[in-house]
Amino acid sequence: MVKLIPTQEEWYKALAERHGEDIQKKFTSATVAICGLGGLGSNIAVALARAGVGKLILIDFDKVDISNLHRQQYKANQIGVNKTDALAHNLYEIAPYIAIETHCVRITENNAKKLLESADIICEAFDDAEAKAMLTNLVLEKMPSKYIIASSGMAGMGSANVIKTRRVSKKLYICGDEVSDVKVEGSLISSRVMICAAHQAHTTLRILAEQFET
């Protein structure tokens, strides 16, 4: 049996009916970069794709590993595939009219500006604390017109209720409990990581809708 997917017009109409035409226009015309495609980044990407964000820039140097599958938006048959390719494939199945740009590279101080220059909003979704700090500093110093939504503290089995979004300054938001370190907690639980990712995705959409934290 041949299954036809909805047309682009039908797709957009359904989103606009759900979100409101004004907000949907803002989502559809936006470009969001997601730096790191692990437990945070892959879940952020799925939420933003479903919401109808027009373009995602997906950046990660890694391949899908069996140890990722408990919390990341990949499938068993994608082990060994570049995360950029696997996630793009999964997102096209979810949201067929999204535009996706992929970069299978490690983000460094040298290449970040070029990789991120077309993004309106940047989601920092690394796992390494030093890499998180590097990207946050770099965006604020070198790309002051862009928003950065960073993450810190979502490891372990702690309460879901302590994961928050904090607007540190005009362009910097931090999501997480800012305490729970994977090196101390020893674990990353899908639901808690997804809560933090959902904070980052929701903050992205709120900024696009011009609704800001005070």
Binding site: E130, E141, S152, L172, E178, L188
Partner: protein, 64 residues
């Protein structure tokens, strides 16, 4: 007084680097904002904290 993450401290006249040296922050895992603007890491040594400044130190932990 200088407000650091909401706490008032009597450290006006110190540099950002001098303040950080009195804390447990790992300089590689932080971002420092002073009055809403990022303090570049290369300027921690020369940025003087002044009376009335509001500083936010964001400290990153691992996991994602």
């Amino acid at each position: 007084m200088v407000k650091i993450n909401g706490e008032k401290l009597n450290i006006a006249g110190k540099t950002v680097a001098e303040y950080l040296a009195t804390t447990n922050y790992d300089p590689k895992r932080i971002a420092v904002e002073r009055n809403g603007d990022i303090v570049p890491k290369t300027q921690y040594d020369e940025t003087l904290l002044q009376d009335g400044d509001s500083v936010e130190v964001v400290s990153f932990v691992g996991g994602g």
